[in-house]
Amino acid sequence: MKMSKSDNEPEELDVDMTPMIDVTFLLIVFFMIVIDLTQQDIVQLQLPKAEHGTPDKNPEKNRQTINVTWDKVQRKSTIIWKRQEVDYTQLGKNLFPIATGHGMIDPQTRFSKLFVLIRCDRDAPFKTVQEIMQVCATPELKIYKVMLAARDASGQK
């Protein structure tokens, strides 16, 4: 029996890609929405626990986050601001234009409206936090709204 031409050729398998592409795009959109750009200032560190702190649900608009990490091996603390390692002088210089920028000085009190959140590793010496507070309180910066971050431990007991 003579076979037709079409029987000899291997049949082409067409995989329908549409549902897979749909799901993939859906996942991409999900991740793009979930990604929080405000988290970029946050460095992974071990925060101390606090049960009675205020939950940080609505972060202040005028807020700068300063991270203090602790190297257990070298026993050294490092200040990280906007993903950059800084010393106290640099920190003061970096905060100056933000703290004294347009509309940032309270006309009545003459103090800065800027909030500073210090996220310090639980094992770091308190000296670093003290010195950051000292930088904030300088007459040039006049920042007095300083907050200390802690891991929310309410309801753990």
Partner: protein, 155 residues
């Protein structure tokens, strides 16, 4: 016989999806790797002095009895003292510290707390004590203590 035009019309147009899928998967992997779930943190608000900065003679200006909390180091251990009375070694001393704060608060409702941590004390012990102050509903908490750099600059 079909014309060449007809044949062209019938020819199926196939789109090459492979590069698009490649890019899409690359994006997907990127987002999956960079994803960080937001962990709810808490904050303890402190306000730095707004007068003339560090006032060395502030003791003379204060008529109210303060709750003086001292955190000092004994070797590697952090010792908590309230108004000179030892509460024990941190973090175990937090309960005793809370009881003492409540006792002092009962005697004078508006007593402000003054925390003097040794600069070498670990940050977690300071937060523990701050947490106990918040638990005792103390509204006025101030930090004192030697600021090492300032001290060296002035001397």
């Amino acid at each position: 016989m079909a014309s060449s035009n007809d044949r062209a019309m019938k020819r199926e147009v196939k789109m090459e999806f492979t590069p698009m899928i490649d890019v899409v998967f690359l994006l997907l992997i990127f987002f999956m790797c960079t994803l960080k779930f937001k962990i709810l943190e808490s904050k303890i608000a402190t306000f730095l002095p707004t007068d003339k900065g560090l006032n060395k003679n502030f003791e003379e200006l204060e008529p109210v009895e303060k709750i003086r909390i001292q955190l000092s180091l004994r070797g590697e251990q952090c010792v908590c003292r309230i108004n000179g009375q030892s509460m024990g070694i941190m973090p175990g001393a937090t309960q005793a510290a809370y009881s003492k704060i409540m006792q002092l608060k009962a005697a004078s409702e508006k007593s402000p707390a003054e925390i003097s941590p040794d600069p070498r004390v670990q940050h977690k012990h300071v937060i523990d004590i701050l947490d106990e102050c918040m638990r005792a509903n103390l509204t006025e908490i101030t930090f004192t203590g030697a600021l090492p750099d300032l001290k060296t600059k002035k001397s």
